[in-house]
Amino acid sequence: MLGLGADRLRADMNRLLAFLFHQGILDEQYLQLQQLQDESSPNFVSEVVNIYFHESEKLLRNLRSLLMDREFSDYKKMGIHLNQFMGSSSSIGAKRVRNVCVAFRAASEQNNRAGCLRALELLEHEYCFLKNKLHELFQIEQQRVLAVGVRYPMQN
C-alpha cells in the first residue's frame, strides 16, 4: 500500500502544483525555489515558506491594525509593509498574493481607505488559500518522502 502510494502521491502533488500554477496562485519562481533544494539543504522550500508564513502573518496583523485605526491610517507605513509583503511573495512565487499586494499598494498610495479595506480582505483570503494549499502540498510531500523511505522487498 505504502509503496504504491509514493507514485500516487507524486502524481497528486504534481496535480496540485499544476492546479496552483493554472490558477495563477504560484508562478515559476516556486519551481526555482524547488530547484534550490538539494541534498545540502533538504528542507529548503518548506523552511523558506515557513519563514514566509511567519513574516506574512506579522505583516497582515500590522496592516489590519493600521487600517483599523479609524481616524488615522498611516499609509506610508502601510506602503512599507506592503513592499515587504510583495517582495517576499514574489520570492516564493506567490503570484496572486503579490498581485493583490500591488492593488493594495495602489489603493494605499491614493489614501483610499475603502479600497485598502477591500484589498486587505482579499489579501487575507488569498493568503489563507495559499497557506492551505501549500500546507497540503507539504503534507503530500512529507508522505511521499515517507513512502519513498519505506521499501518493501517484495516490490520489484
Binding site: 519562481q29 539543504s41 519563514i51 517582495g87 520570492s91
Partner: protein, 1004 residues
C-alpha cells in the same frame, strides 16, 4: 564621447522645439491688455454718455432759441396791433373832440345836444371798437354852477351819485353815449383818476390816459382817455395858462383794455400758447397791470417785453409775453441723444464682448495647448508604464521557459533534441530581446536611452543576425548574404546591442517582405561611397564587358541573386570597384590604418538590400513613423507592429548617422544608414575576448580555395567569409574556368596556387555541363598528380535530396555549405569536409550555463543584505547552490558593521528598498569607508599591506522593479551593477561575470 555629444545635441533639439512652441504662443494686443478691457469699456461708456449729453444740450439750446424767437415775434406782433388799434381809437376820439368844439362851441346856438351826440356816437361806435363809450364833460367853474344847474335842470353829482360838494371847478358830463349814459351829470373831477387826467389833458392839449383801474360799468380793468376841448382857437404855441383858459370841456372815453386785448388776441393765431400781460410802467418800481393776471403761472423762465406807445408821453406801457406752458421737454433731442447713447453702448458692448471672447478663446487655446502637451506627456508616460509592466510580465514567464530550457540542455540529450532545445533557447532569447526592444522604444521616446561604447566585433554580430534569419530565408529560398569591407576595422567601439537591433530590424523587415531573390547586407566605410559612385560612371564608359551578363542572358541583373534591386549601387558594376579598390589598397592598408587611426571615429555605411515587394510610393514618407505600416493589409499579411523602423531611425540618429531608403514597388527596397563608431586602439586580446569577439578557428590559415560562381557579387561575399578564416580565394566565374585553372596549375607544378578546396555555387554547377567537372577531375587525377585532391563543396541556399545525391555522384563532398554563410558555420563545414581538428570548443559556446556560474561563484564569500527574511533566504539559497559561502545581514546598518575593513567578502548583494537605511545609502557609506581606508593605506606608503589593490567590494543592487531603479541610479551611489529579484541565472551570471572573470586573471 562622440555619441554622448550626439545625444545631448539630440536633447537640445528637443528643448529647442519646446522653446519654439513657447514663443509661438505669442500674445496678441488684446491679450496683452486684457486687464484694461473693463476700463476701456467704462471709458467708452463715459465718453459716449458725455457725447450724448452734449448732443442733447445742443439740440435743446437750438429749440430754446427758436422758441424765444417765436415768442418775441409773437409778442411784437401783438404789441404792434394793440398799439395800432389804440391809436386808431384815440384819433377818432380826437376827431370827436374837434366835432364837439366845432358844433357845440363855435356854433351858437349849439348844434349838438345830448340826443345828437348819443346818436352820432352810437353810429360811429364801430370806429372806436376799443372804447366802451365816450362822454363829454363841460368845464364848469363854481361861480357858474348855479346857472349851469338851472340851465340843464339837474345838479352836479359826484361819482358816488351824490350832489357834489362845492369845488373850484366841476366837470359834469353833459353828453354821453348811450352805453355810458349812467355817467351823465356826474362830475368827472370828483374821481381822482379823472381829475388828474383832466388836469393833465387841458395842460398838454393832448390825449392822456389814466393809470388802469376797474371801470364802473363792467368791472374790467381799463383806462380812461381824456381829450381837452377848447372854446376858442389857440395860438400856435399856447402856454399852459392859455390852454387852461381856453378849455371848454373834456371828452373822455373808457378803454376797456381787458376786452380790448382779449378781442385782439382772439384774432391772432397761437393765442393759446402765450400769456400776455400789459403793464403800465409809468412808475417803473410799481408796474400796474392793465391786462392779465399777476399771478398767472406760465413759463417764468422765458419772457419777452415789447414797448407800447399809446400816444400819451406821460405814461409808459409795456407788453410782457410768456409761454403758457413751460418749454416742453424736447423729445426729439432726448430720443436722439438716448438712441445715440444706446447704440454706442451696444457697439461698445459688442466690441467688449468680442474682445472678451477673443481673450477667452485665446485662453482656452493656450489651456488646450497646455493640456495637449500634458496629455501627450501623460500618454507617453502611460504607454511607457504599460510597456514596462507588460514587458516585465512577459519577461517573467519567458525567464521560466529559458531557465527550463537551460536545465533541459544540462541533461543528457540526443543531438537532435539538443538542437531543438538550443533553437528554442535561441528563439526565447530573441523574444526577450524583442521585449527589451519594445522597452527601448519607450526609453527612446522618453529620451532616456543612452548608448554604450564598448569594443565589439561588427562582423560576428552581422553573422549572428543573419543566422537568426537563416531558417526563414532558407524556407523562402531567398539568399541572405553579408559583406563587410576589409577596411572596416575588426573591432569598433559602440553599442553592439543597438547595432544588432538595427540590423535585426532591417533584415527582419526584408525577410518578411521578400519572397524571392536576395537580401544583402553590406558594410563599408562611408568614405568609400563616393568612389563607388564615380566608379559607376566609369564602368559605363568602359562598356561593361562582363561575362556574367552575357552568360545569364535574358533579363539578369548583376546583383547578388540576379534579381533587380531598387538601388543599383549594390550591383556588381560598382561593387567590384569597391572590392578591387580594396585589393589594390590591401598592401598599403597597413600604412593606411596608421593614418586612419589618427581619426577618433569611423563612419560606417550599412545598406540592407532586398528584392521584396517594396514600399508603395504613397507610404514611403511615413515609413519611419511609429505604428505606421505601408497599409493596413500589411499587418494582416505579414504581421508586425510597425514599431521597428521608428526605433531603428531613433537608434541610427543616436549613433550619429542617418537612415534613408530607396524603394521601388515590386522591385525591392534598399535601406542604408550611416553610423559613427569609435575606433578601437589596439585592444589587449583578453579584453577583446570578453566582449563578443570573433573567435574563429585558425586552423584554415593558409589554405587555398577556388570559388566557382557566375555571380560576381555572390562570389565576393563567399570570398569575404573565406578570407575571414584566413583562406586565400580565387574566383572563377564558371566550372570550366575553374577546372582549367586547376589543370593549368597542376601542369605548371604549382607555380601558382594549388587549391585545397573548390567551392561551387549550386546555380553554377547546375547551369554548367553536368558531370563535366568530375570528368575533368578524373582526367586530372589520371594525369598522375598524386597531390591531395581538392575537395569540392557545394554552396546552396536550398537543396533537395535528389540534388544532393546528384552532387555526391558528381564528386562533391557530403557536406553542403548552406547559405546564408557565416564564418563560423563555414568553418564548421570545412572542418567536416577537410577533417581538420574535430575538437569542439566546449566551454566557450556555453558561457551562461550554470556550470560556469558555479565555477565563478564557487568559494566566494558573499554578503546578502535584505530586510525581507524570505528574500534573504531565497537569495542565500540560490547563491549557495552555486557554491558561494553566503552570509546575511538584515539591514544596511548590519551590513555596514559586517563590511568594516578589513573583511573577507568578495561581493555584496544589496536590496534597495529597506527601511531606515536603503541600499543606496548603505552603499554610499561603504564606499566612503573604503575610500578612507584606501587613503590611509596610500598615505602609509604601502607598509607591507598584502593586497596591492584598493578596497572595493563589488556591490550589486537587488531590485524587483526594473523601470524604477535604473542602472545609473545604482551606479551613481557607487554600485557595480544590479540583478533583478527574484534571481535569474542568466541575469546573475551577467552581473557576476564582470568581477569574477577579471579577478582570477589579475589575481593569479
Amino acid at each position: 564621447m562622440g555619441l554622448k555629444q550626439q545625444q545631448s545635441h539630440h536633447h537640445s533639439v528637443a528643448v529647442k522645439v519646446n522653446e519654439q512652441m513657447g514663443t509661438k504662443r505669442g500674445y496678441t494686443f488684446i491679450q496683452a491688455n486684457r486687464a484694461w478691457l473693463p476700463k476701456f469699456l467704462l471709458l467708452w461708456v463715459m465718453v459716449m454718455a458725455f457725447l450724448s449729453t452734449w448732443i442733447y444740450k445742443k439740440m435743446d439750446a437750438d429749440n430754446k432759441v427758436r422758441r424765444k424767437e417765436v415768442l418775441s415775434s409773437m409778442c411784437d406782433q401783438r404789441a404792434r396791433m394793440l398799439q395800432d388799434q389804440f391809436s386808431v381809437s384815440v384819433n377818432h376820439v380826437h376827431a370827436l373832440a374837434i366835432l364837439v368844439s366845432t358844433f357845440h362851441y363855435y356854433k351858437n346856438p349849439s348844434a349838438i345836444d345830448q340826443e345828437t351826440f348819443a346818436e352820432y356816437t352810437a353810429r360811429t361806435a364801430f370806429e372806436r371798437p376799443l372804447l366802451s363809450g365816450v362822454a363829454y364833460a363841460e368845464r364848469v367853474i363854481n361861480s357858474e354852477r348855479e346857472k349851469f344847474e338851472r340851465q340843464h335842470g339837474w345838479t352836479i353829482k359826484t361819482m358816488e351819485k351824490e350832489p357834489s360838494p362845492i369845488r373850484d371847478e366841476y366837470a359834469p358830463v353833459i353828453f354821453s353815449q348811450e352805453t355810458v349814459s349812467y355817467i351823465e351829470s356826474l362830475d368827472m373831477m370828483s374821481g381822482e383818476e379823472d381829475r388828474e387826467n383832466i388836469l393833465r389833458a387841458r395842460a398838454t392839449g393832448k390825449a392822456v390816459l389814466t393809470s388802469p383801474f376797474r371801470l364802473l360799468g363792467s368791472h374790467h380793468l381799463g383806462v380812461v382817455l381824456t381829450f381837452p376841448v377848447y372854446k376858442s382857437k389857440l395860438p400856435p404855441t399856447p402856454t399852459v395858462e392859455e390852454r387852461i383858459e381856453a378849455t371848454a370841456g373834456y371828452l373822455g372815453g373808457a378803454f376797456d383794455v381787458e376786452s380790448l386785448v382779449e378781442n385782439l388776441l382772439g384774432q391772432l393765431a397761437g393765442n393759446q400758447e402765450i400769456l400776455v400781460n400789459v403793464y403800465d410802467v409809468t412808475n417803473p418800481s410799481d408796474p400796474l397791470i392793465m391786462y392779465g393776471h399777476q399771478n398767472q403761472d406760465g413759463d417764468l423762465a422765458l419772457l419777452h417785453e415789447s414797448k407800447l406807445d399809446f400816444g400819451d408821453p406821460f405814461r409808459r406801457h409795456q407788453m410782457i409775453c410768456r409761454y403758457h406752458q413751460k418749454a416742453p421737454t424736447s423729445w426729439t433731442a432726448l430720443t436722439t441723444a438716448f438712441l445715440f447713447f444706446v447704440i454706442c453702448l451696444l457697439v461698445g458692448y459688442i466690441l467688449y464682448g468680442a474682445a472678451i471672447h477673443i481673450v477667452k478663446v485665446e485662453d482656452d487655446f493656450h489651456e488646450m495647448q497646455e493640456l495637449k502637451v500634458r496629455a501627450e506627456a501623460a500618454d507617453v508616460a502611460k504607454s511607457q508604464q504599460f510597456l514596462a509592466t507588460v514587458s516585465h510580465e512577459i519577461r517573467t514567464p519567458m525567464n521560466g521557459i529559458l531557465g527550463m530550457l537551460a536545465l533541459l540542455l544540462d541533461t543528457d540529450l540526443s543531438s537532435t533534441q539538443r538542437d531543438y532545445a538550443q533553437t528554442a533557447q535561441v528563439c526565447g532569447k530573441a523574444l526577450i530581446t524583442l521585449i527589451n526592444e519594445v522597452l527601448d522604444r519607450a526609453k527612446i521616446e522618453a529620451g532616456k536611452l543612452e548608448l554604450e561604447t564598448v569594443p565589439f566585433n561588427l562582423r560576428s554580430i552581422l553573422d549572428d543576425v543573419l543566422s537568426l534569419f537563416s531558417e526563414k530565408s532558407r524556407n523562402k529560398d531567398v539568399e541572405l548574404a553579408v559583406f563587410v569591407s576589409d577596411k572596416v576595422p575588426a573591432m569598433v567601439k559602440g553599442d553592439p546591442g543597438r547595432f544588432r537591433q538595427i540590423i535585426t530590424n532591417l533584415v527582419g523587415n526584408s525577410v518578411k517582405f521578400t519572397e524571392r531573390g536576395h537580401i544583402f547586407v553590406k558594410v563599408h566605410l562611408a568614405e568609400n561611397a563616393k568612389p563607388m559612385v564615380d566608379a559607376k560612371g566609369e564602368t559605363c564608359l568602359n562598356g561593361g564587358s562582363d561575362e556574367g551578363l552575357l552568360i545569364s542572358g535574358a533579363r539578369q541583373f548583376k546583383t547578388l541573386s540576379g534579381y533587380e534591386a531598387a538601388d543599383e549601387r549594390n550591383s556588381w558594376d560598382s561593387f567590384k570597384h569597391l572590392v578591387a579598390d580594396e585589393e589594390s589598397r590591401y598592401d598599403a592598408s597597413i600604412n593606411m590604418t596608421v593614418a586612419d587611426e589618427a581619426s577618433e571615429n569611423v563612419t560606417l555605411m550599412v545598406s540592407v538590400e532586398d528584392t521584396g515587394i517594396g514600399i508603395p510610393l504613397i507610404a514611403q514618407d511615413r515609413v519611419f513613423m511609429p505604428f505606421m505600416q505601408a497599409d493596413s493589409s500589411t499587418s494582416r499579411n505579414y504581421g508586425g507592429t510597425g514599431i521597428g523602423l521608428s526605433i531603428t531611425k531613433c537608434l541610427v540618429e543616436l549613433m550619429g548617422g542617418h537612415i534613408s531608403f530607396i524603394s521601388r514597388p515590386q522591385v525591392g527596397s534598399t535601406f542604408s544608414f550611416t553610423a559613427v563608431f569609435g575606433r578601437c586602439r589596439k585592444v589587449p586580446y583578453s579584453d577583446a575576448k570578453k566582449s563578443n569577439a570573433e573567435d574563429l578557428p585558425s586552423g584554415f590559415r593558409g589554405l587555398k580555395a577556388i570559388v566557382v560562381d557566375g555571380k560576381p557579387v555572390r562570389a565576393a561575399v563567399t570570398r569575404y567569409h573565406l578570407k575571414r578564416l584566413g583562406i586565400l580565394v580565387e574566383v572563377a566565374s564558371s566550372v570550366k574556368i575553374a577546372a582549367s585553372a586547376c589543370g593549368k596549375n597542376g601542369s605548371s607544378c604549382g607555380s601558382k596556387i594549388q587549391p585545397d578546396i573548390i567551392l561551387v555555387e549550386k546555380d553554377s554547377w547546375l547551369s554548367g555541363e553536368d558531370g563535366s567537372l568530375s570528368f575533368r577531375m578524373m582526367d586530372w587525377k589520371q594525369n598522375g598528380h598524386v597531390f591531395k585532391l581538392p575537395k569540392m563543396t557545394l554552396l546552396a541556399t536550398n537543396i533537395t535530396n535528389a540534388e544532393l545525391e546528384k552532387a555526391k555522384a558528381a564528386g562533391f563532398a557530403d557536406t553542403t555549405i548552406m547559405k546564408p554563410m557565416r564564418a563560423s558555420m563555414v568553418a564548421a563545414c570545412l572542418h567536416q569536409v577537410l577533417g581538420i581538428g574535430k575538437k569542439r570548443q566546449a566551454g566557450k559556446d556555453m558561457p551562461n550555463g550554470s556550470s560556469v556560474l558555479q565555477s565563478l561563484l564557487c568559494g566566494k564569500k558573499i554578503l546578502v543584505v535584505d530586510d525581507n527574511m524570505v528574500n534573504r533566504r531565497v537569495a542565500a539559497g540560490a547563491l549557495k547552490k552555486f557554491g558561494a559561502a553566503v552570509e546575511c545581514a538584515e539591514s544596511g546598518k548590519a551590513a555596514l558593521k559586517l563590511l568594516q575593513l578589513p573583511h573577507s567578502f568578495d561581493a555584496c548583494f544589496m536590496d534597495i528598498q529597506m527601511p531606515e537605511m536603503d541600499g543606496f545609502e548603505a552603499t554610499r557609506r561603504i564606499r566612503k569607508m573604503e575610500s578612507q581606508a584606501n587613503e590611509q593605506m596610500n598615505g602609509g606608503l604601502d607598509e607591507g599591506s598584502a593586497r596591492k589593490g584598493e578596497w572595493h567590494v563589488p556591490i550589486l543592487a537587488m531590485t524587483a522593479d526594473v523601470i524604477h531603479a535604473t542602472y545609473d541610479e545604482c551606479l551613481k551611489c557607487g554600485m557595480d551593477g544590479y540583478v533583478s529579484k527574484p534571481f535569474e541565472e542568466e541575469n546573475l551570471y551577467q552581473a557576476v561575470a564582470k568581477f569574477f572573470i577579471a579577478k582570477p586573471i589579475s589575481d593569479s
